[in-house]
Symmetry: C2
Subunit: 112 residues, 2 copies
DNA sequence: ACAATAGGTGACCATTTAGTCACATGTCAA
DNA sequence: TTGACATGTGACTAAATGGTCACCTATTGT
């Protein structure tokens, strides 16, 4: 088992992913890993403090890990929580895809 | 392209998935598809109105579709939005999994 | 027709959340 | 050591959210 995951609470991960700014931060870190707070701040239309709060949420959810280097703090994307959601949660609903869909189609076509 | 999806806005889907009660509703519909509001209400520790609000959010996100039958409204799980997240968003981070992870490992092991 | 049942609407309140700011700490470089 | 820079903290406001309720409409069964 991995240990980079911090809290790794399902609810924290979903709540973290619910905000568009935080998804944009993940996008930014995906585009270029290991960015500092000020670098990320310049990519977003938001004050440094807003970005800092969002990064804190992402770190608490385990979606971002950071390490300090001198006076800078480098942020890294951690794909593990998302991977786990995919494995244990998304696929749970996605698997019966075909069955549910055809069943739904039948239901909708049924004369009400 | 499918048409059962309503708004299908990425943000709506993530926001809908962010609430544990709504995830529980998806669980309940996954366990037994086509349940009515009152049936779902009895499964959750919440008033009918709370459940109704959550169902409305899920419907707006396209995660649940419903059809009326007499005075009843039957709710069906729609796995398509989750499937799309998996396809277009989760996999985006999950694919470079190995690369990012080893890179992260290297970064963390580096003497600070 | 009438009572019981299933669902819907709008207002309302408590809590959380997003965002900003003044201020403080720690680090680098000249 | 001094000034510039990167980050952190706590308080604060405005907005969104979760939950409940009183009241309403529509359908069913008798």
């Amino acid at each position: 088992m991995v240990t980079y995951c911090g809290a790794m609470d399902e609810d924290d991960v979903f709540k973290a992913l619910a905000d568009p700014t935080r998804r944009a931060l993940l996008d930014a870190l995906f585009a270029e890993d290991g960015q500092t707070l000020t670098a990320l701040e310049q990519r977003l239309p938001m004050s440094r403090f807003g970005v800092m709060k969002h990064l804190k949420v992402l770190e608490a959810a385990g979606l971002v890990v950071s390490r300090k280097q001198g006076r800078e703090k480098l942020h890294h994307l951690n794909p593990i929580p998302i991977r786990l959601i995919h494995d244990r949660w998304v696929s749970k609903y996605a698997e019966p895809w075909t069955a549910t869909l055809s069943q739904l189609k039948r239901s909708l076509e049924e004369p009400s």
